[in-house]
Structures are given as C-alpha cells and as structure tokens.
C-alpha cells in the first residue's frame, strides 16, 4: 500500500517560478485540506519574494480557476499560480 499523500503540488508559472527560484513546490496540508486563502498565505510565508506576485495572480485547482478562495485544497490536489498572462 502506498503511503497516504499529505501534500499539495503547487506549480509556479512564469514570474512566480522566477521569484521562487523553482517551478513547483510541495506544501504539506492536513488530511482534511485547508482553505485556498490559507494555502496562499502559507506559500507567501515560505517564499516572501512571491508576495506581490501572488496578489496579482489567479489560482487554479485541478484544472479549474478558483473563484472563491474559501474553497478547500486537499492532499493530492494540484494547485497552480498564474501571474498575469502575456502570450502573443
């Protein structure tokens, strides 16, 4: 039996990845998950240089935009930080 996953895989795109110096981090969360707002605060605490970028970013949980940061993020979820887009 594989061990229970206790972390959230956080993908840091573009300027978020540059600021953190890495393109993803694993954040441990309680088995019942935490609110997205709390997860973002934890991210900012762990990587203070991300603070201003996080304020301007959109967040994605398992391929869907989070429209309400009270939504929960659970172990095994994927959570992405999307700074403002700049394609084209």
């Amino acid at each position: 039996m594989p061990p229970a996953r206790r972390s959230v895989h956080v993908r840091l795109f573009a300027s978020a990845g540059t600021a953190a110096g890495r393109s993803s981090v694993e954040l441990d969360v309680p088995a019942g998950g935490i609110g997205a707002a709390e997860l973002v605060r934890g991210l900012a605490a762990a990587h203070p240089q991300l603070k201003s970028i996080l304020r301007a970013s959109r967040f994605v949980r398992n391929g869907r935009y989070l429209t309400d940061l009270r939504q929960r993020v659970r172990p095994g979820d994927e959570f992405s930080v999307h700074p403002p887009y700049g394609g084209g």
Partner: protein, 146 residues
Amino acid sequence: MSIRLTRNRLSLEAASRALEGAGLGAVVVFAGRVRPDSRPAGRVVALEYEVDRAMALRRMRALDAAARRTFGARRVVLWHRFGRVEVGETAVIAGAACGHRAKAFDAARYLIEELKATVPIWKSDRVRPARRPRRPPSRRAGRSGG
C-alpha cells in the same frame, strides 16, 4: 487542426490552407512575430514562452467556440508556440473564415486579443547584451515548459 500549442515552427501558409473551404466568403488571419526589440539590457534575440498546457488548450477551445457562436466563424485557427522562439519567427497565428468580411476581421481580432488576455501563456525576453562580444543567451534553469 484548429487549436495548436507546439514547439514547432508556425506557418502562415499552413494556416491559410487550414482556413480554405467552399462557401466561406471571407478569411482574416493574423500572425504575430518576434520582434528584435531593444531593452535596457540589450537586443531581444528570442522569446521564451511558458504555458500551462492543459488550461491553455481548454481556454483556446473555448475561444474557438465563442468565435463560431459570436461571429459565425466556420473555420478557426488558433496556434501558439511555446519554448524558445527566435526573432523573426511566428509565435502566434489567429484566423477565422466567415461569411462576410466584417465578421472575419472581428473574429480574428477577438481571438488574438482574448488569447493574450485570458490564455495562460507567458513570455520572457532572451537578450543579447549590447556592446559585448556575442555569447549564447542565458537561460533560467528549473522553469517548467508547461
């Protein structure tokens, strides 16, 4: 195919072929190329595009559907490269075939504006420093290509 995210070169000619079709009165196609812009640090020699692939494809499909619904587009091309794109190369193509020209212009314009504003793609400059001997442009390590 009407939606593409690719590391390969994009061709306006291929897009034109994809927009062919009887009964379509008007085709408008836009191509955006990497410009050799100047920066304080030097001259841009390439752009590096990063993409959240799954999200980007989903959003591009939504734009395709919206162009068909809103402007009556019957064929759509929405192609974007990721990874390194050299100066002069095409980074993005957006095109639509409609019954009439006003709709085709509006649809193509809509596609590129919405792509830039709402599709998770990011670019960063690759610059050759001014007044220095030529050397390979620097690359940041550990970045996801999406």
